[in-house]
């Protein structure tokens, strides 16, 4: 450091020289603050990606003396371009959370009591391998169910398939994106995937139905949304709540909950009767239009007004706005779409509307994925399970994804013992008591198990019920399966690599998997010894310099996101049975479901009750982040949004603590009331993920209330098994 030159002097001199005025064009060098230094510390920068949620934004970790000093967005990441949300920025507080699981533990007390003894990794893994071998011999490998979530579980997924079970289900399907994926696949022949390929930044009109971008933060999606608006896109927001997005809307439609399909049908009615849909697109690409036109004939805006409580004139006006902006209408398909149990049909209605506007595969609408060829591993085929799936995917739920499975189907099977007993659960990267509704049902299932294993980073409530707890290293301490993102305008590969060594005795998932594979004699499924070797094989056909990938964190490839740019190698445009957009679905007809979506009432709250709605806050991820000190400082509890008129009738005061009690008598922890004009008076809203019951989460324990705990009722989608969760009603009980 140059002595005697104070910061004050320096800033004066540097501004005099005009050095900082070139900001953004040429990096200015500074004696006091040179690149690669933080204060007086030399820092190393590691490019990796985030796992505070599953969007996986690019981050640069600044590391010195084996410690992560700061996480910053990675400007060279093709999708997120240096932007990083509050959660992503708070990553170091997960890494250094003092409450982390620190060593493998075996249960010594009763399930739920939380009494464990510390064991070594060898003891833990030998124990698990012994039990798995025993289950395989006694009950068959299908008796072991696996509940993964997220990319980190990819290696464990392979392990479980190699072991011989196909009873694998993650909440990303039946509690989240499932209905949407199935509804769009029925219509266009393919689902959407993640990140959602919605062309928000090029759109002339953005339509959000229950999607709360801005409170739900997926960084690049928020950027595209905001950039789209600032480029002049109009915005329609359909939400019973005045969300952050609604506050930016040109039209906010505070719809009566559960009536979205009626609105969608009325919009179609207007487009078709006024002949303002994209005729050329429909005649070229779609089949089933006459059936659709006949079907929606009776669904006038006046009909919809009586159901949705939205003025018919507003329904017409918004339909006309869509017609005027077509095909650059970004009708967002939503993400968490398991609402009322008829969700696949609602997703179908959204897909059909997208088709009428000609927006699928068009600029400003929904863009198309582009495949890239990654390296393959020479491994034996997985053993074919001898028995059907226990979760009902493909049978009880005919169109459920066999890749992602039906979590609640596995819970049901564990409770009932049908079609055969499930003896063990391995849970990885999710908290089954928060992610799957009907907690008493889940607990009943856990009681029936011979073995419950939890692999996690934090002592979530489910660890209390585990027989074996394996502490995983955080995303900043491990290598994971790289992200191969096809549903981006430019497909890309992005890596996760460790920034620091794992703390305590935690171990990366890939290490745990390899150790288990070795113990179970399944090494042939893992023909690599180190993560570097795994990555090298994977990227080999891409022609990517591996050092570039390790330095930059991500590499993008040319994409062909719009119909006009597609090449023969991209495959059929609409890989449905007919090769066309199926407005009318012969497949649904064949399976005994409505081939065209129709509105069905979802039931009203009883007198004195509100419909329970839930969503996200921008500073938290699911039920994962409430123990993070920086995020806790910004939001340490959730509140219950109640309409001001309803609050007056109930004589509630702002900030008053109440308990919420649902239709089945389930009670929440105390929660504060937030009185607002910004919600319809028939519903109550709270942010998901609070009210933790684990005492070991010292910041999050008993802060706020759990919406999941109030979901004792679900309505299951018969098409794909999704749990509709907005069918619960709560009343306010004063303390």
């Amino acid at each position: 450091m140059s002595p005697k030159l104070t910061r004050r002097d320096f800033i004066r001199s540097s501004s005099l020289l005009g050095a900082v005025t070139t900001l953004g064009t040429a990096p200015a060098q500074s004696a006091e603050h040179p690149p690669g230094w933080r204060g007086t510390t030399r820092v190393e920068t590691i490019a990796t990606n985030c796992e505070m949620c599953f969007w996986r934004c690019g981050v640069l970790a600044e590391v010195a003396h084996g410690k992560v000093l700061k996480l910053e967005g990675n400007p060279s990441h093709p999708l997120t371009k240096g932007r990083l949300c509050a959660k992503g920025n708070a990553g170091p507080k997960l890494l250094y959370d003092p409450d982390r699981l620190k060593y493998p533990m075996l249960r010594v007390g009763e399930r739920g009591e939380g009494k464990f003894k510390q064991v070594s990794w060898d003891q833990a893994l030998d124990f698990l391998a012994g039990r798995l071998t025993e289950f395989k011999q006694k009950y068959g490998p299908e008796s072991v169910a696996f509940f993964p979530h997220g990319v980190a579980s990819a290696f464990f997924h392979t392990l479980m398939r190699a072991y011989g079970t196909h009873n694998i289900a993650e909440p990303a399907f039946a509690q989240c994106r499932g209905p949407r994926e199935v509804g769009y696949a029925l219509t266009f022949g393919q689902g959407l995937g993640s990140p959602e390929p919605v062309d928000l930044e090029e759109s002339k009109l953005i339509v959000l139905i229950g999607t709360h971008i801005g409170e739900n933060i997926f960084t690049s999606q928020v950027t595209a949304f905001a950039d789209g608006l600032s480029r002049g896109a109009k915005l329609i927001v359909v939400d019973p709540r005045f969300s952050t997005a609604a506050a930016k809307a040109d039209w906010w439609l505070p719809i009566r909950p559960g009536t979205d399909t009626a609105l969608l049908l009325a919009w179609m009615h207007v487009l078709i009767t006024e002949e303002s849909y994209d005729k050329e697109y429909i005649s070229r690409y779609a089949q089933g239009f006459p059936e659709l036109a006949a079907h929606v004939k009776e669904f006038t805006p006046e009909w919809a007004e009586t159901i949705t409580e939205l003025p018919a004139a507003k329904i017409r006006a918004t339909a006309r706005a869509m017609a005027a902006a077509k095909p650059a209408v970004a009708l967002h398909p939503g993400r968490h779409t398991t609402w009322y149990g008829d969700d696949t049909q609602r997703a179908r209605a959204m897909a059909i509307l997208t088709a009428l506007l000609g927006s699928w595969g068009q600029k400003g609408g929904i863009f198309l994925p582009t495949a890239i060829k990654t390296g393959e591993f020479r491994t034996p085929a997985f053993p074919a399970p001898k028995r059907e799936r226990a979760d009902g995917a493909g049978t009880r739920f005919p169109l459920a994804s066999e890749e992602q499975g039906v979590t609640n189907g596995l819970v049901d099977a564990t409770v009932s013992g049908k079609p055969y007993p499930i003896k063990a659960w391995i849970v990885y990267g999710q908290n089954v008591l928060e992610s799957i509704p009907q907690r008493p049902h889940t607990l009943e299932a856990i009681r029936k198990l011979d073995l419950m294993v939890v692999v996690d980073v934090l002592p979530m409530e489910q660890t209390y019920y585990a027989d074996l707890v394996l502490p995983e290293a955080t995303y900043l301490e491990r290598y994971d399966m790289p992200q191969i993102a096809l549903s981006a305008k430019q497909p890309y590969i992005a890596i996760r690599q460790p920034s620091v060594e794992p703390l305590y005795e935690s171990k990366p998932g890939w290490w745990i998997t390899l150790q288990m594979a070795h113990r179970l004699g399944l090494e042939a499924y893992f023909p690599w010894k180190t993560p570097e070797e795994h990555l090298a094989t994977l990227v080999q056909p891409l022609g990517v310099n591996i050092d570039t990938l390790l330095t930059r964190g991500a590499v993008a490839f040319p994409g062909r996101p719009y119909i006009a740019e597609r090449l023969p190698e991209d495959g059929p445009l609409f890989p449905t049975q007919s090769g066309k957009i199926e407005l009318y679905s012969p497949l649904l007809k064949q399976l005994g479901f409505d081939p065209l979506p129709r509105y069905a009432p979802v039931g009203e709250p009883p007198v004195g009750y509100f419909r329970l709605l839930y969503g996200r806050a921008p500073v938290h991820s699911f039920a994962r982040s409430q123990n993070n000190a920086w995020l806790d400082a910004l939001m340490d509890e959730n509140v219950a949004w109640i309409n001001e008129d309803a609050a007056r009738d109930l004589r509630l005061a702002e900030g008053q603590q109440v308990v919420l009690e649902n239709q089945d008598g389930a009670k929440s922890l105390p929660i504060r009331v937030s009185i607002t004009k910004g919600i319809r008076r028939d519903c109550l809203y709270m942010v998901h993920g609070f009210g933790h019951e684990s005492r070991r989460l010292k910041l999050a324990y008993h802060r706020g209330a759990s919406d999941a705990g109030l979901m004792t009722r679900v309505k299951v989608d018969p098409i794909m098994g999704g749990t509709g969760m907005r069918v619960n009603f709560v009343k306010v009980v004063k303390l």
């Binding site: 409170e215 608006l229 921008p618």
Partner: protein
Amino acid sequence: MARYAMVTDLRKCVGCQACTVACNSEWEVPTGFARTHVHATGVAGVFPDLVSSFYVAQCNHCDHPACTKACPTGATYQAENGIVHIDRNLCIGCGYCLEACPYGARYISPTIKKADKCDFCSPRLERGQEPACVLTCTAHAKFFGNLEDPKSEVFNMVYEQGARRLETPEVAIGPNVYYLGKKENVDLVLATFPPHRPRLLAPGEIWRGYLKPFILAAVGATFLGQAVAFFHQLKVGEEEFEK
């Protein structure tokens, strides 16, 4: 010469607090404090014609800062590029500047017991990086640049698109953080978070007013003394050398 300014586009801001955490992380701000923080206005209007907005608060690096006048030691000062700094060597943590700031942009750090606030990420600027909040902003709603450069984004936003300062007739000290948005939104922000009149301006000024002659005298005396000593040493030293 540069005149640095920040513009927050309220049409884009979603209030996600990415800026808050990035800033806390960058500057090791103690948990529970902030150099920048996002506030919500709450909902105004009549259902269903409602309005609400976010307000991103931070140091405004005002043209006529109240804090520099209130600071009794001169620790708070304004550089020629408009950035208001705190010299930690001079700050005594008296908190007068907190009272003076109409925008509540400062806090006393419980770890170092001194005032702290946004300095537009000056060390990052020197490295050629954007301020941490601008880089991280998920909604691409924060813009930083030189108001005297007609080609800059902020110049365009302020002089072409009409980004506004949060000023009232009572408190108009030329903040250099601007807000772009629909009139109703910026009006709501200003009505909900109006700048307060600088408080305790007088004591600092009076104190410094009284002290100034003494400080000048002390500095003058030191200088004089040193000059005397210098010449004395010159003379004496030469004499001693000759001896």
